[in-house]
Subunit: 317 residues, 4 copies
Amino acid sequence: MKLDVNAQGVYPIAPTPFHPDGRIDEDSIDRLCEAYIAAGATGATVLGIMGEAPKLEPAESLAVATRFIEKLGDLPVIVGVSAPGFAAMRSLAHTVMERGAAGVMIAPVPSLRTDDQITGYYRQAIEAIGPDIPFVIQDYPLTLTVQMTPKVIRSIVQEHPSCVMLKHEDWPGLEKISALRGFEADGSMRPISILTGNGGLFLDFEMERGADGAMTGYAYPEMLIGVVSLQKAGRRDEAHDLFDAHLPLLRYEQQQGVGLAVRKYVLMKRGLIASDAQRKPGAALSAAARGEVDYLMGRLAKREAELGLGGRIVAAA
Amino acid sequence: MKLDVNAQGVYPIAPTPFHPDGRIDEDSIDRLCEAYIAAGATGATVLGIMGEAPKLEPAESLAVATRFIEKLGDLPVIVGVSAPGFAAMRSLAHTVMERGAAGVMIAPVPSLRTDDQITGYYRQAIEAIGPDIPFVIQDYPLTLTVQMTPKVIRSIVQEHPSCVMLKHEDWPGLEKISALRGFEADGSMRPISILTGNGGLFLDFEMERGADGAMTGYAYPEMLIGVVSLQKAGRRDEAHDLFDAHLPLLRYEQQQGVGLAVRKYVLMKRGLIASDAQRKPGAALSAAARGEVDYLMGRLAKREAELGLGGRIVAAA
Amino acid sequence: MKLDVNAQGVYPIAPTPFHPDGRIDEDSIDRLCEAYIAAGATGATVLGIMGEAPKLEPAESLAVATRFIEKLGDLPVIVGVSAPGFAAMRSLAHTVMERGAAGVMIAPVPSLRTDDQITGYYRQAIEAIGPDIPFVIQDYPLTLTVQMTPKVIRSIVQEHPSCVMLKHEDWPGLEKISALRGFEADGSMRPISILTGNGGLFLDFEMERGADGAMTGYAYPEMLIGVVSLQKAGRRDEAHDLFDAHLPLLRYEQQQGVGLAVRKYVLMKRGLIASDAQRKPGAALSAAARGEVDYLMGRLAKREAELGLGGRIVAAA
Amino acid sequence: MKLDVNAQGVYPIAPTPFHPDGRIDEDSIDRLCEAYIAAGATGATVLGIMGEAPKLEPAESLAVATRFIEKLGDLPVIVGVSAPGFAAMRSLAHTVMERGAAGVMIAPVPSLRTDDQITGYYRQAIEAIGPDIPFVIQDYPLTLTVQMTPKVIRSIVQEHPSCVMLKHEDWPGLEKISALRGFEADGSMRPISILTGNGGLFLDFEMERGADGAMTGYAYPEMLIGVVSLQKAGRRDEAHDLFDAHLPLLRYEQQQGVGLAVRKYVLMKRGLIASDAQRKPGAALSAAARGEVDYLMGRLAKREAELGLGGRIVAAA
């Protein structure tokens, strides 16, 4: 089951769980997968930036991806294959596809600047992995420092039939979604799936601009799923109510450098992973920060109770 | 009345209001000043990045600063004097102090990288403006690309007695406030005032970490004033309630590049300035974005009503 | 006499001479102008990056430009008008044109990244200064961090009839010259003048790729003039002999940050300016560095004698 | 035989030779090794930036390093182990040391900015590889964007006894060598070996400032060896004569992005490698560029003949 342009819904970005001594924690992978399935996720993405992919050795990367693929069963898994060189990218892409991945995600290398450099990079990447593997463009300027205009994205989409999705995490990025959907409307770009990232910080409006869903790692994926469902059902105010209830914590998670520490801490407190350990280099939460997250989680529970949300998935039937 | 290390409260960052044809709108300056005074602001900051300072000619900069100083009466005014060269910085700093400014704010030039380069830059800047003008360090890595560690800030503070305040807008920055307050506690740095910026996105917790107040341009300064007052009065939950009510809009304002357009649009809708015009280069809001802001303002009014806040200043007596 | 697309030859980038106390040294401006005329320069460029333009107050900038324009008489003077805002750019551009400048030079602001941002910036700049002032694109990625592809330059040229020249200082940049001349050959871009900068480090081959001359501040402008003349006369080996004789010193000058200190020191030793003082921030030469420059100047004199060049201008018959 | 602080002489940075189809060319590795030995190199460095290390798969990296180690016999080999994550760095470092490497070279990751971030990174790296492997700091701001002050280098040296060498390629960097040697003289830093890179562009003066030799990939390593030997023998003018003869070509090689293409082309023309192929992404030389290199090689041969150098090693006995 390969990824295609009709993909929608929520693909949580999965963290890579570690034991406190740095070993990969397979049991927590399993628990995460169960939670994603239970929450109603459409798929999942592994070995992304938040998955600490560059800290893994090649064999570990493969083992992590494989375990997620197995445990997620029917759910499509997208694997990040970004690498400093194309040899490693090709090798990882082919192996994970053989193991059952639905597609791969490719981020540009940070040194790219001009439009031509960016389209040239994707040309070489697709030459390396071949034209048959569905791929996702990761557009994340804040971290990657590469700025892709809508026109550049259109060029990549039109040049490569195997491009099926944009992971949109430009900031600000609402107008970019509108521009791309405009290209589709005027016939200058074939339709693709757009899932949004950036921690979910603008998910409420991204859905209204035409996104198909979310691909991000917020520690309460059921909120992402709820907002996406409610917006698709046209229940705008409810979608914003749910989103706003989570925004104080979501905003707290959205801190460059310590965001993953917050996320793993919340997932650990929620029982989804056993430890919030990161491999080095990685920021640890101070006692004060842990107290702040505890406080926000308490307020979230209270606010959800007020709204009658109860911390569970919002069915949008 | 010069700025000193005891400064606290809220210093809104004032936008520079323009007529649609690009001329400076003095009447709107007056109206902004009245609103700041009515809201209970402690002072104000003009000619900052959000004040479109680089788009003004020197005579205009001086005229804008002077008008704010006059109209704000007893309230201390801080004037941004950041400039590519020290000659212009010295000239502007001296003139505005003669006209009644309380102090000046200096941002590092974007090319600085190492700790020594940063401390060296402030050394030359203070040599240029002289040791008698109270100054504020602007620490805004997201826009300025200069990263100052707590130790670097301490060096600048200890070297220059005229350094009285840090405009803190690192992101993430909570641990930085704790580190600086720790330096004061262990005696390695004399106490200074810390006002936080970054659009207010973490103001709720910044106050708990030891900030003295806020210096930022969120279009509802009364919220900033309310949160600062409530936190100082130890009314934590109420502070967060007020903050959270505004967070969806505040988050929307916090978009690099279009943030000022959102801010001016809200200020215009609130009647604080006559036009949301910016000088070029400047991003305009799309119709979709205006609709989103309208929607958020509507939800804010409703939420404030629910909380019994009524859109007015929260007295923390 | 306005600058047009037929401009060629050598336009030295003039430093701004200061007295040791930081005042502008008008006498040295006069001496520089005499030397440029005597050496056979075609024109000159003032208030560039090497002219310490950002360290001047507006009135000083105007005074410096005006004096150069007066003293250079019939020689066309290009004035750098790059500024953080368009108000200052427009104001300076109009005033210097009234005083007799031949054209202006505009560098992009360092924050520009995508092709559209760059062309958009020039659109706004030309809207600000008006369509009647001949302008030069400054393409200097090493310092400005903005990367313009040949296609972007072509877009700017085609959109703005008042664009008459490219100051080419990309590094590496030889293929860029070939690409632009190729655009002219295939009819997709109207012809413009291309003068090369980058300290002259590739002038020998830039002329062979189709450059029209040089616009840079190497402290022996007669070498630049000689190489340009010899190459135009088809005397390739002699051009390289002359160039290679200067390369050890030219290479030494080409050090980011201290290059201007080297250049001013050499100009002072040659008697072209009275002092090598820079305004702050500015790097000073260590005693060791001065010794190295002295040594290189000695070797240059010896090598020129060997080649029978005698330190004077090479007439290209 | 492990690398220690007494290392001196020339360690060419070895390219990784490929067949035109992208396979590694082991025969050319052997030929390069023979040439380095014949030229009098002291050692060699492999898997550096110029060695296209990020384009190799892990098994290939190991194979390349191992072959160089075997073929260079008694000559010490330094292996670049820079990696996005510490797991891969530790794994490669340990394996190559077991296979006979003399030490490893570690470059900082490009995201580091403050002094504390840089020293913290090396702390984590050494924790990962352990305290027993001699390591080289690579200080290459132009490519890596990380700026290390002399004080930061001193901190790393003092904290880690296994730090034995600095690969110095700051630009400009002459004062940095003087500063570090000054630290040794005043007793604040223990002595280390300093070999200089940056293509050799300032090797002539770097030796005079106190460098112990060169570690760079200029395609005529015998020139580097000659200049180092002559300078050590106090034959300054001869060292500069030799250096200046090569400077036109060396300068041409020193072009970011295409430099490796020039270098491989020259090595191929000299018969040291069979093909100038690079793995993607990699810039190819245009016909014009190849013609320019041919011309410069011709001029070099002529100039060496004039100077009686004959293209061979200059014995400094």
